[in-house]
Symmetry: C2
Subunit: 205 residues, 2 copies
DNA sequence: CTTTTGTCTCAACACGTGTTGAGAAGATGA
DNA sequence: TCATCTTCTCAACACGTGTTGAGACAAAAG
């Protein structure tokens, strides 16, 4: 009965499949669905339907709905947010413009990058459960990346968090609420509008 | 069988109770719950439990979960948002400060006013379903109240919507994500931080 | 006392959800 | 051909949801 010859090294709890292209199809469908409907409103059956497969197959590829969500999150490299942090580098003049442009490029650019962030934003705001996750994402990847430069400067920390909050507000109006006057604008026009404002909150007058 | 003498003027579909204090207790519980968990995560049973009554009683007082939600919304007078619109009146100097202070007073003040707005914000951002409701709330009650003053000025409209978006972002960080550095601040300190930024986006340089 | 009316609870239904286990279809290797 | 492995579907379970109807309980009215 028991086979000692062929030692199975890791009898993992769940068989993790992923050879064929189906895994990526499901992941793409999940990313779009999560970004559009948020976490709780998205259903496994709906995602599976979009991907053209059965719901249980999604469960076999990823173990649960939560793991599918984190898989979508991990599919966007962890380096995307650090690009924002880098924008804080450099001279004080043009700081607001660099940060604003970096923010809009990340949150309004390639769907593979922006959609997971929108999904996380929806989930975080919608339920106060993923709030911790969003807080960690923003604080650890943005603030901590900046930690070396503003060590023990609570005033600057507050200013940076305010700037990020305000830019998230712009993203909410642009991508989630889809306010006409904002959607109509070109990105550089938005930068021109917003950059002086971010500059004002970032640098002491 | 048919009684013509005692004319019942309105045989409403559902008996609308509301004499005792229970209706208000349920309404308060619903307001808090909606603000904390959003619409979809809030359950009738949970609200009823907080109010100390049975779930079906909630259904008898209000006809459905949606009607309960709109009842909570209506419980905050429609005049709360117009207070923000009024802040746009007056001279250009100090405009950012007035608007910022009005915004924070409404969204961070009396829970009877702020909690329904937070609930609506959660619902709108969480699901893109109540997005229309939020868009109408902001656009009709803020923009349209300002319509007389900025008739045919798309540039100013864009600036106002951006200012509102950024201030909503601050509210999100302050009340929903609850970022430490923001929660710790006094309201006037926040106004001092944010007001120059709002001023910058509202008035042409 | 009996009846009615208002207030409230109990038990249940119908539905959608995440999740699971059994098994079919097809390719691969012995 | 037989066995095996991967990929995928079908049917079902367990649970929580909004919602409903019947009835308990008390107070007021007749």
């Amino acid at each position: 009965m028991v086979d000692f010859a062929q030692t199975e090294p890791q009898p993992l709890k769940k068989r993790r499949l992923g050879a064929g292209p189906t895994r990526k199809v499901i992941l793409d469908a999940a990313r779009t669905r999560f970004a559009k409907d948020g976490f709780s409103r998205s259903t496994i059956r709906g995602i599976a339907g979009d991907a053209g497969v059965d719901a249980s197959l999604v469960m076999q590829y990823f173990g649960s709905k939560d793991e599918l969500f984190t898989a979508v999150m991990d599919s966007s490299g962890p380096s995307t947010m650090s690009r924002i942090a880098e924008a804080f580098d450099g001279p004080a003049e043009g700081l607001g413009e660099r940060v604003t442009r970096a923010f809009l490029e990340v949150w309004d650019g390639d769907p593979h990058i922006s959609e997971p962030l929108l999904a996380l934003l929806r989930a975080a705001i919608g339920t106060q459960q993923a709030t911790v996750q969003l807080r960690e994402l923003i604080q650890k990847r943005v603030i901590d990346d900046l930690g070396a430069r503003l060590r023990d400067d609570p005033d600057m920390t507050t200013r940076i968090e305010l700037a990020c909050s305000m830019l998230v507000g712009v993203v909410v109006g642009l991508r989630l609420v889809e306010i006409d006057a904002l959607v109509r604008q070109e990105r550089e026009a938005l930068v021109a509008y917003v950059a002086p404002s971010i500059q004002a909150v970032l640098v002491r007058h």
